[in-house]
């Protein structure tokens, strides 16, 4: 067994500060009323002379601009659980050790993540990207790994001999003993765990309690130390207060990036992708803004999700500044794992195309980005349909004698002596091709189609309506025609 302990030493602080880009003096307080004291503060605050244990009133006297927030234990626990869900991508065995510690059993993951050093680096960098400060230590027993992390030593110990030697050098206060027991150990000169282990066991147990011996034995691996496994929730949901009311997209995206990184860790741990997700921006005094992102393909690519969100935010006007951002996964689908490959392959192309379509649609709207398909119908205007990009068509409907451009609505041609005119008299080159069909719906047609040429050598597709009037109409160009741009024909025809 090999355990990786992940200690988040400034968790009470980080849950408020991880959405902040600018560094300002900030502290978390505990306790009630006049006895409220600083529990944790950031570096900016420490530079001004504040430290944990100081009364809040004293800290405010040092800097009136200090932002003090009461500690939120429930949010800390929720944050710890989300980090645990994220960490499941490295190993299936993750265990919570509140407050502020996680244990990962990584013996089976070493091969996949290219060794312990590489795994430790990936975990540490990942947690940092989530916005938390972390100390990562590895040891053969869970408690030993925790003790090393508490001592602030990012060691990687794999063997029992090395563990015994290193453990003996740890200071005795990492055990977190009650003040009386700690003082007693200090008085008898036992300053390290090694000193404690060298004392007679019976005497030590009588003086400082059985618990110390038990802890030492579990850390050294002489007693079993079972841990409860963490089971991830079925849906992901997280919220994040913003350091200051924000209306600019960049500030919101910074906070959203943290949440999306958590989401994507959770998704990759559970071999899923998200197809629909919901961002909720809370405001002071007005209704929350809800942004629902629907993707064509389930994805767990944080950068892609962030790009889609960016386009949506650019197109959204917030009624007032947001004070918190929440993310909830609405629809999760299993996604097959993809192995990394050197050359771009078909699957990667399809994924890139789906991501492109989502990005375009987030800004231009769903109806403005479509694919084309052919339909089995003789009527030219019924022979095609706008569809989801990537839809397969009937191959049989391909027709080489049709123009490349079709007019949205046929345009009536002027006539000169019963001959159609368009920039002059038209010469009919081919035809007639009779199309008479559609009696079953209200769009019956009865037309004779011709290929016609203008005096300026452009090729047109025209027809003569066999109904009343027998008028000539222009229905297509064999190549592009500049004169009248029909504008938003796609919006009208998409269905």
């Amino acid at each position: 067994m090999l355990w990786l302990a992940l200690r988040l030493p400034s968790l009470p602080l980080d849950i408020f500060r991880r959405a902040a880009q600018a560094d300002t003096a900030f502290a978390v307080s505990g306790g009630e009323g006049a006895r409220a004291e600083i529990i944790a503060c950031n570096k900016k605050a420490r530079d001004k002379g504040m430290q944990p244990g100081m009364p809040v009133s004293a800290a405010l006297a040092l800097d009136a601009g200090l932002q003090v927030v009461p500690r939120d234990a429930a949010a800390e626990q929720a944050a710890l659980e989300r980090v645990a869900a994220w960490a499941l991508q490295f190993t299936p065995v993750v265990s919570l050790a509140p407050p502020g510690e996680l244990l990962l059993e990584v013996e089976g993951s070493l091969q996949l993540f290219d060794g312990l050093g590489s795994l430790r680096r990936q975990v540490a960098e990942g947690v940092q990207a989530l916005g938390y400060r972390a100390i990562v230590a590895a040891a053969p027993t869970p408690l030993a790994a925790q003790l090393f992390a508490r001592a602030g030593l990012p060691v990687l110990i794999r063997h029992d001999d090395a563990l015994r030697v290193s453990l003996a050098r740890l200071p005795a206060d990492v055990l977190g003993l009650p003040a009386e027991a700690a003082r007693l150990l200090d008085d008898i000169g036992a300053q390290t765990l090694g000193d404690c282990l060298a004392l007679p066991r019976a005497g030590l147990a009588r003086r400082v309690g059985e618990r110390v011996l038990e802890m030492l034995d579990r850390a050294a691996g002489r007693l079993p130390d079972p841990r409860l496994r963490y089971a991830p929730p079925t849906l992901f949901s997280a919220s994040q207060p913003l350091p200051a009311p924000a209306q600019e997209a960049e500030m919101l995206l910074f906070a959203a990036r943290r949440l999306l990184a958590e989401l994507c860790g959770f998704l990759s741990a559970t071999a899923q992708g998200v197809q629909r997700l919901q961002f909720t921006l809370s405001h002071h005094g007005c209704k929350p803004t809800v942004l629902t992102l629907s993707l064509t393909n389930a994805s767990r690519d944080a950068d892609h999700l962030l790009n889609v969100l960016r386009e949506r935010l650019d197109a959204t006007v917030l009624p007032c500044p947001a004070i918190a951002i929440a993310l909830r996964s609405e629809l999760l689908l299993p996604v097959a794992c993809r192995s990394a490959s050197l050359l771009p392959d078909a699957a990667r192309h399809a994924e890139a195309a789906a991501q492109l379509v989502e990005r375009l649609r987030a800004r231009l709207g769903d109806a403005a980005v479509v694919g084309l398909k052919t339909m089995d119908d003789y009527r030219p205007e019924q022979g095609w349909r706008a569809c989801e990009p990537g839809t397969q068509s009937h191959e049989a409907a391909a027709n080489t004698s049709r123009p490349l451009w079709l007019l949205d609505t046929p345009r009536k041609l002027e006539e000169n002596n019963e001959a159609p005119c368009y920039e002059g008299r038209l010469a009919l080159l081919a035809g007639p091709e009779r199309i008479e069909t559609g009696w079953w719906d209200d769009r019956q047609v009865e037309r004779d189609y011709f290929v016609a040429r203008t005096p300026t050598h452009a090729l047109l597709w025209i027809y003569r309506d066999q109904h009343a009037g027998r008028n000539w109409y222009l229905h297509g160009f064999f190549s592009c025609y500049w004169l009248f741009v029909t504008g938003c024909w796609l919006t009208a025809l998409y269905r």
């Binding site: 192309h349 379509v357 398909k373 397969q392 080489t400 949205d408 081919a430 452009a458 592009c480």
Partner: protein, 236 residues
């Protein structure tokens, strides 16, 4: 050292250090075949420049601008790359595109109202690895925006075809500029600019070989309705 007589003229002219003013530039990346051998012969890289901007100016309307790029587009879609139409002036007719050999599942239509959105969509598409070609219809583009698109095309290795009307003819950064006109029932392609300089003689292409032209044009017959449903097209 070989005797002078042993060197043929061809061998000398093919030497990489020799450049002839009337020759196509040698390009590092071969182009996409246009499907028209006469046109390929005058283009550097024997085809449409890959990862560069090509401008196509049509002198008259409806003379085969889109037809010109169809063979290359068909080859790209069949190879699984996407061909994107941005702000097309009319409906690209799906059965005709399929008839030209395009795989419609790899065709993307983008309809953007403002010039800014068209340029943004073009840039997004050009920077995507799955793109093969982007066809953009825009008459007035700011020079800086055009250069940005050219860079995006270069970065993504995607061909960008910009269709403009002939009266917009300022100097641009395009790698290739073609001018289309029509004469004697054929489309005449004139190269306005190509990499390597030297302008070749215009190339006449038959873009609609399936329509047999009758010259001179006859006056229009008054056609009696023929009672047949969906008869195949008949040359007159």
């Amino acid at each position: 050292m070989p005797a002078v007589s042993e060197l043929s003229l061809d061998a000398v002219l093919n030497h990489p250090a020799i450049w002839r003013g009337n020759a196509c530039a040698r390009v590092a990346q071969p182009g996409m075949a246009t499907g028209f051998p006469e046109l390929d012969a005058v283009l550097p890289g024997s085809g449409w420049p890959a990862g560069a901007l090509t401008e196509i100016y049509a002198e008259r309307k409806g003379i085969g601008e889109l037809q010109l790029v169809m063979p290359a587009a068909a080859a790209l879609t069949q190879a699984g790359r996407w061909v994107t139409f941005i702000a097309a002036p009319h409906i690209p007719y799906a059965p005709a595109l399929a008839g030209q050999g395009l795989a419609l599942a790899r065709v993307l239509m983008i309809n953007a109202a403002s010039a800014e959105e068209r340029l943004w969509a073009a840039e997004q598409t050009l920077r995507t690895t799955c793109s093969g070609a982007v066809l953009l219809w825009m008459d007035h583009i700011h020079e800086r925006a055009l250069r940005r698109l050219q860079l995006a095309a270069e970065e993504g290795g995607v061909g960008l075809f910009l269709f403009r009307s002939a009266h917009v003819a300022a100097a641009t950064t395009a790698a290739l500029r073609l001018h289309l006109s029509r004469a004697h029932n054929r489309t005449v392609v004139r190269v306005l600019k190509r990499r390597g300089g030297g302008l070749p003689a215009p190339v006449a292409l038959d873009l609609h070989p399936w329509v047999r032209f009758s010259a001179p044009a006859r006056s229009v017959p008054v056609v009696e309705p023929v009672r047949r449903a969906a008869a195949p097209i008949q040359p007159i």
